[in-house]
Amino acid sequence: MTIPLSYNLRNLVARKTTTIMTALGIALTVAVLLSVVALVDGLRTSLAGSGHPLNVLVMRRGAPSELGSIVTPTQFQMIKSHSGIARMPTGEPIASMELVSIIILESPEIPSGININLRGISPMGFAMRDYVKIVEGRMFRPGHREVVVGKSVAKRYPMARLGKKLSFGKGEWEVVGVADGGRSASNSELFADINQLASDQNREVALSSIVLRATDASNMQALINRLTADQGLNVDAKTERSYYDSQTSSAAPVQYLGTFVAIIMAIGSCFAAMNTMYAAVARRSAEIGTLRVLGFSRGGILTSFLLESLLLSLIGGVVGCLLVLPLNNVSTGVGSFVTFSEISFEFSVTAQTMLVGIAFAMLLGAAGGLFPAAAAARKQILTALKEI
């Protein structure tokens, strides 16, 4: 025979203030945890959406990122002649040589400025990123000092909005377009004509990286192996996807700190839940005695109090989820230790995130409710009935 759940529910309602306060404590703990999860998820989504599944990224051997890599036009010609590279209908290999540099943009939030990726690119390079679309203004013209900015950059840095002028290289560059890269790292970049940029930075023969499109997935690994094995080329090749995946670690400092905070807060809230449940057990001593007289077993009592604690934490968990919901799609940025520039992304609060939060809250409730429930179950009928 089990004690009906409505008994617990009515008990929680009867002690409104206590219930609300304990649940709120749990809710805030869950909210802190979830905001960190949402941040890491957002970064992961943004990076997972970057790069084409068939793209291969080629950099100087040992280079940790495009910024630290140097490739030459000669290498580009040699690489283009490799087999396994997809071709345009015209017969031209689908390959793009790119120049990656960094400029500092200032924002009202961070007046000292943040590193932003600046990518010199050819029309082919743009075509290879088919998820990037110009949504405002137009494309830059080759041979002109013009840039297209990713939409997150335009949003977060007023000095890089449409029509503004940026000063780097050998002159002023006009922002002529805004590009939407879906949920990808391209939103955090600036794009310019590769030839103009290379000439401005005196890097005509020292570019950064090469992106290739493999003909199909089965050929991709073979192409990567061939390029890496070529001693004359002295390059490392990897899938573009894996390059972006490796940058997820950029959120590690925030992740560690956030997890630490959530755990300590969880310990605190767990004690608080324990307190509430012990008080509930103490105040309902006579009730517990009565239940036992009526024939409910010790196990039944244990389950009932544990359920009440779980119910309490469930409320907390749900409120916690509601608290982080407004965070969804709020844009933020973290510095990538791989590229030394900022990746902008949006917090992502998904159904899965919320399930994690609720599970975490229930865990808290179970830990906090177990001992009080056991204490309730252990009570002797007579002594329980005698207590006020």
Binding site: R61, P64, I110, M265, I267, G268, S269, T276, R283, F340
Partner: protein, 388 residues
Amino acid sequence: MVRHLPMILKNSLRNKRRSLLTLLSIAASLCLLGVLGALYHAFFLTVATEDEALRLIVRNRISLANPLPASYLPRIKAVPGVTEVTAWQWFGGVYKDATDPAYQFARAGLEAEKVPLIYPEYKIPPDQFKAFVAEQTACLLGKKTADRLGIKVGDRLTVVGDYFPVTLELVVRAIYDAPKNNESLFFHFKYLNESMKAAGQPMDEVGTFTIRMARAEDATAISKAVDDMFHNAPERTKTESESAFVLSFVAFLGNVKAFLLIVCGAVTFTILLVAGNTMAMSVRERTREVGILKTLGFTRAGIVGILVGESIVISILGGVIGVGLAYGVCALAQQMPSTFTDMSAVTLPPIMAVECIAVAGLIGLISCLIPAIGASRRSIIEALRFSG
């Protein structure tokens, strides 16, 4: 209130389990508050030491990834108020294992003979320093890193370049100790230069320049003089204080300031809920006792004092334990290798510790005030009749 102290203490021991749980949950929260406070302090409130205030960093205006011409050095040195300038090149690279944080410490090239002039706070045994200057492949290592990794003078160290396509074979010739930032490895800038020449990529550029000034008051004037001097040069400069330069790396982690403040707020609010909840429970439990106290002639103020006093005693005790725990966590954090911030600066200044305990006391006061006043207002008859 002091008169009632024995009673307050006795009362707080009445329900030992509840007092303990409350105490622990306040301690957990206060520990967190303390650690976050220590981090905030380390990031944003540390005052530059006398030596730090005498140093300026000159970097490329566009970004740190853009180098500066080596030819700028004599021109910077000629600026009035500048006593010494060294070329400074961040190297990075991989020592043993790039994925193991234990092997991560700053590695940079500079002009070896200028170390005591630029960094007079570094304590180096004179014979060791002489040996470091005399040998081009020698390096100078911070004591904390040396101790942590068990490296001694005379040991060999191989650092494989990532941003630079060269491998440095270094010999530890000197170990320095400094009150702050005693973890870096410094080698001869000239050695890097020669290695790059040997690799077929000679460079006549440096990452940054570090200036030592005669007087800290000249910082603004010198920064302006340097930046103005290169205003029309191909590579414009940005000169800032060493501490501002370091802070720009913290900004790189994301909006750390807002993160810490929001979490601190959430934690404080949570403890307030928890403490308020428990105190309300405990006051409620002794409503009848309040009736008895009143019959015995206790005034309303006296009763409020006794109840509030108990709450404050428990909270302050929890606060003290929490701050103690926070010191423990800080001590652990200081042992961690610093990558972007100086971990040895993570400590809770006494004033902040006192503030934390005061916050705990205040929480005890606020959380108990309303239930205590409520209880003291009841008439004797009503209170005596109260059955919980």
